[in-house]
Every structure is written in structure tokens, then in C-alpha cells.
């Protein structure tokens, strides 16, 4: 079981640069062929400052830190026992290549199901850009098998 005492725990803040090369690699890996995601001229013509960050890319960018799964061990989660249960993204402003993002994460909730056989840990992440603009919110629910 994952102890509820960790609810409200603030995780280390991280920063990541949004890089054009990574966005092009992400487009390749996901089969994206719309040129706005790989060609800066096409992105600008579509009204973006540079290549836009595709809708789910922020999830991985938040993991750009030395020990992205470290917090899980800190609260007693075993990486071999987790499954991603739910994921939400709320978008406030577009994010593009060239932006530097700050990710502020906290554990929002912890609860059990199936008589404690499963724990669910909910992590909320606030994303701001280099201007301090709140650009997005992420919310992950991670299921942990306790038995």
C-alpha cells in the first residue's frame, strides 16, 4: 500500500527546453506527417512562433530530469508494479520550440481499490513558460499493484 501521508507532497521542480530536433523525432516516432510539426516555415504560416508542441508531448518533457521515476521509489512505489491509469492535459496557451518550460509537480491524491490490492497515485503538474505564463496542466493517475 502507498501511504496517504504523501498526499500534498511537492516533488522537485524541473525545467526543460523545447527543442526542434526532439519535436521532429517525436513526429517521426508517432507517424506525424503534417508539416507544421517538422517544418518551421509551415508552422509560422499556420500562426505558430515555431514548431508547436503536439498535444501529448509535455508528458515526456516533464520526465527530462536526472531521475524521473525517483519520486515513486521515495513514496514506496515499485516501477515494475505500476501502470498508467489515466492522463489528462489542459491547455491554456500554445507551446512552441524555443520555449523553456518549468514543471511544478505535487501528489494530489492517493487512494486504494480492491481492498488495498491496488493503490492509485494522482500527480498534478503545472507547466509555465519562460515568461511565467501558465501554459498547461497535466494530471496523471498511476495504478500500483500491491499484491
Amino acid at each position: 500500500m502507498i501511504h496517504k501521508q504523501h498526499i500534498g507532497r511537492v516533488l522537485p521542480t524541473s525545467q526543460a527546453d523545447v527543442e526542434k530536433g526532439r519535436l521532429r523525432f517525436f513526429a517521426k516516432a508517432t507517424g506525424e506527417t503534417d508539416p507544421i510539426y517538422t517544418d518551421e516555415a509551415a508552422a509560422r504560416a499556420a500562426g505558430y512562433a515555431s514548431l508547436p508542441v503536439p498535444p501529448t508531448f509535455l508528458f515526456g518533457l516533464e520526465m527530462e530530469k536526472p531521475d524521473p521515476f525517483g519520486w515513486m521509489g521515495d513514496i514506496g512505489m515499485d516501477l515494475a508494479r505500476i501502470l498508467h491509469g489515466e492522463q489528462s492535459f489542459t491547455y491554456h496557451q500554445p507551446v512552441c520550440a524555443g520555449d523553456t518550460l518549468t514543471f511544478e509537480s505535487r501528489i494530489e491524491d492517493i487512494y486504494d481499490k480492491k481492498n488495498g490490492a491496488l493503490s492509485f497515485v494522482v500527480k498534478a503538474v503545472k507547466v509555465t513558460d519562460q515568461r511565467g505564463v501558465h501554459v498547461a496542466d497535466l494530471r496523471s493517475s498511476i495504478a500500483h499493484r500491491n499484491t
Partner: protein, 156 residues
């Protein structure tokens, strides 16, 4: 963009008023999941959890083999949405992972208009979205809120 393509783009751009509950998004059919798909996605996404790319680790965790990152399918659902509307019209995406996508699974992303609502001073279309394998099993279900009236560069 030539005139014919421009016309097609115009015709394809969905509008709040023209849509009805039940209208379907053009589906997105993906190639079968391979180990290469998973390795490339691990590197490109930044999610380096070895359970998706290292068979030894996957077996140690009790899985028969490596399996797809949930966020790979999530990215495919992102493509379903941005193939349909410009990305700046996305307000929210909510996904629930209901099954594991395995090697060899061929996913189709689908969506349909579930609701037309007003929220935060904007008219929003809520679309229900899903990934389904070639065997008819749903692996992700969720929804998205789209502000189809939103002009480029303007967000509340």
C-alpha cells in the same frame, strides 16, 4: 497549397454550428506496433521506462514481452484530433488506459461528437475518443474539449 487542396481544407474544417452530436471524426488507422515503434517512441518522448524496450525487464515484471507505452497511443489520439482541427482549438484531453497494447496490435483511433456545451465563455464540442485493436478491443477511452470558434493565437 494549390486551390484544390485549399478548398478541401476549408471543406474539412469543422464548425460548431455545423456539427451534430453523433458526428464521427475521420478515423486514423495506424500500422501494427513493432519493437522499433516502441524504441523510437521511448527516445522521442523521453519516457525511458525499460519495461517498454527491454524484454528481459518486461519478463522480470511478469509480462510476456515488451508492450506499448500508453503515451504512444495517446500521441496517436493527439494526431486524430489535430488531423481534424487546428491544435490551438484543443482545450482539454482526458484519457483512461483500459488495456495494454501489445506488439502486433494494429490500432484505429476513432472519435465522435458527444456534446455541444458552453464553458468559460466558449462554445465547446466534447468528442469521445478511443483506440481499438484489430480484434475490436478498446485500449484507451477518453474525451477532448475543442473550441472550434477559437481564432489562431487567441485563448481565454
Amino acid at each position: 497549397m494549390n486551390a484544390r487542396l485549399a478548398l478541401q481544407a476549408l471543406a474539412a474544417a469543422p464548425s460548431f454550428d455545423a456539427l451534430s452530436v453523433g458526428d464521427a471524426l475521420p478515423p486514423l488507422v495506424l500500422p501494427p506496433i513493432t519493437r522499433t515503434t516502441l524504441a523510437l517512441f521511448a527516445g522521442a518522448s523521453g519516457d525511458h521506462n525499460p519495461i517498454h524496450i527491454d524484454t528481459d525487464i518486461a519478463r522480470k515484471a511478469g509480462m510476456p514481452d515488451v508492450f506499448a507505452q500508453g503515451m504512444l497511443s495517446a500521441a496517436y489520439l493527439g494526431r486524430l484530433l489535430t488531423d481534424w482541427v487546428p491544435q490551438h482549438q484543443l482545450r482539454q484531453v482526458n484519457l483512461r488506459f483500459v488495456g495494454i497494447t501489445h506488439l502486433g496490435h494494429q490500432l484505429t483511433c476513432t472519435g465522435r461528437v458527444a456534446e455541444k456545451i458552453e464553458q468559460g465563455g466558449e462554445r465547446l464540442v466534447r468528442v469521445e475518443i478511443a483506440t481499438t485493436t484489430q480484434y475490436g478491443d478498446k485500449k484507451i477511452v477518453g474525451d477532448a474539449l475543442l473550441a472550434l470558434d477559437a481564432q489562431r493565437g487567441h485563448q481565454p
